[in-house]
Symmetry: C2
Subunit: 306 residues, 2 copies
Amino acid sequence: MNEIKIFSPATVANVACGFDVLGFCLDNVGDDMIIRKTNKKGIHITKIEGYDLPYEAELNVAGVSALAMYAAIDVDFGFEIEIYKNIKPGSGIGSSAASAVGSVFGMNELLGKPFNKTQLTEFAIKGEALASKCEHADNLAPALFGGFTLVKSISPLQILEIPSPDDLYATIIHPQIEIKTSESRAILPKEVPLGHAIEQWANLGSLVHALHTSDYKLISNSLNDVVVEPHRSQLIPKFSLVKEAALIHGALGAGISGSGPSIFSLCKGLEAANKVREAMQNVYSKTDIAFDIHVSKINTNGVKII
Amino acid sequence: MNEIKIFSPATVANVACGFDVLGFCLDNVGDDMIIRKTNKKGIHITKIEGYDLPYEAELNVAGVSALAMYAAIDVDFGFEIEIYKNIKPGSGIGSSAASAVGSVFGMNELLGKPFNKTQLTEFAIKGEALASKCEHADNLAPALFGGFTLVKSISPLQILEIPSPDDLYATIIHPQIEIKTSESRAILPKEVPLGHAIEQWANLGSLVHALHTSDYKLISNSLNDVVVEPHRSQLIPKFSLVKEAALIHGALGAGISGSGPSIFSLCKGLEAANKVREAMQNVYSKTDIAFDIHVSKINTNGVKII
């Protein structure tokens, strides 16, 4: 096999109470990529469609993660990467993670799978760091493993696969505004009241238990973020209205996807998720902000060959 | 049935990363109590052995929780309570919780179980509040439900029963020193660095997952407290040495039990727990501090009729 086409999915990180550690994978939103062996050694990005991104491997997220893996192998050939980017960079649904994951997953397949998924995450972290200026894996892990993942620690890298009920759907609205990474960082509190921290870890522990036991009511009760959302939601126009509309129309919970501006909600069943889609888009339809909206089953497989 | 004898178990709260929310129940350490119907209306504490505690119901933890339940029922009789106290008050293994739970559990049995365990916890919280000056349930919940419990919230009261592997044992050493509640409170930070809070909830989420999946290695990896232990451990002589000795001799993890001074460790198997017992007591044997030490299987039943 000399060429492979893959689908690298979008992901939702943080998931309300799981700031910086929890994430889940989407099913029908993501990038396509082609990875190809070539006689020319090194990593070569040969095509980028969808968004304007750099072709120099060391300046491109998919290129940097590919270079990290390439440095760990000893081969007399190289790889070409074609990127068909559907996830808008900066949307808050793991655009850079999809790129970082896609190249290393594809290369690993062409090499006969010498690396496991945790090792692939290690390479992908290097790419992700180019985009977000820090090493984190809360989008990478669900893109690679699928389903819900908890990044227990970065060093050493420990990723836990948390089971989730079959009938869980996400609705994500992406308002087409730009939030500067620097701004969404600066607005984070450096210290949090102990009481808020306790509430947050009670909710996260509870959410993990609820996912294990397929307890939708408890999933709903646990999807609260008292630490980050009160700050970052200020950067997202109509956040409270969208969240309220989602909850009123049956969402189990809603919150900021990653560092925003996308807003996610979780629902039991496709019908509920479609109702919530309507409710969320009704809020933004009354503004002059353009938006995308997606309904997706939780993708339990992650990145895949197509 | 007019009289019942019960065993009300000791418990370990906080469990390293689960400050204020997590707890587990011990098997062979606890108080005995007799609850008896009597013609004389009201709650009457008629016997206390073991420790010097007040006989006035409204000044006694078991009495206050009993009075809370008594106010919620309409009966033409009263209850007598005998307390055979084995758990030293202030030891950090849920002495007041055992008292608060015992009276309401026993009364509920004599009444034909009109209340469920969550309702019993509500009553017991009133008794616990007398001892600890605030309403919390992290010792009450495991004493009533058994096993590991996560108190998701106090208002409304939500208690989750977390499964745990069969072969999990605890070793607890109780150095006979007094830590004033006011001191152990005052030493807590009011604010915590966001990074520490994230590490703590990553560990708690991970511990809940590890308990669900009987993953001993992950239980071990998750038993870290970066928020409270660095402060409160200063109040416990030889804490670091005891913890280190436990870990060196095979404990999965160790930490402060409740607000101390007891120190708990968790082990896979009785043999390991006994080795850790020896290692922990060796540390205190070299001091002039008296101590008790217990090895116990996790008690998955909680308070029971004997």
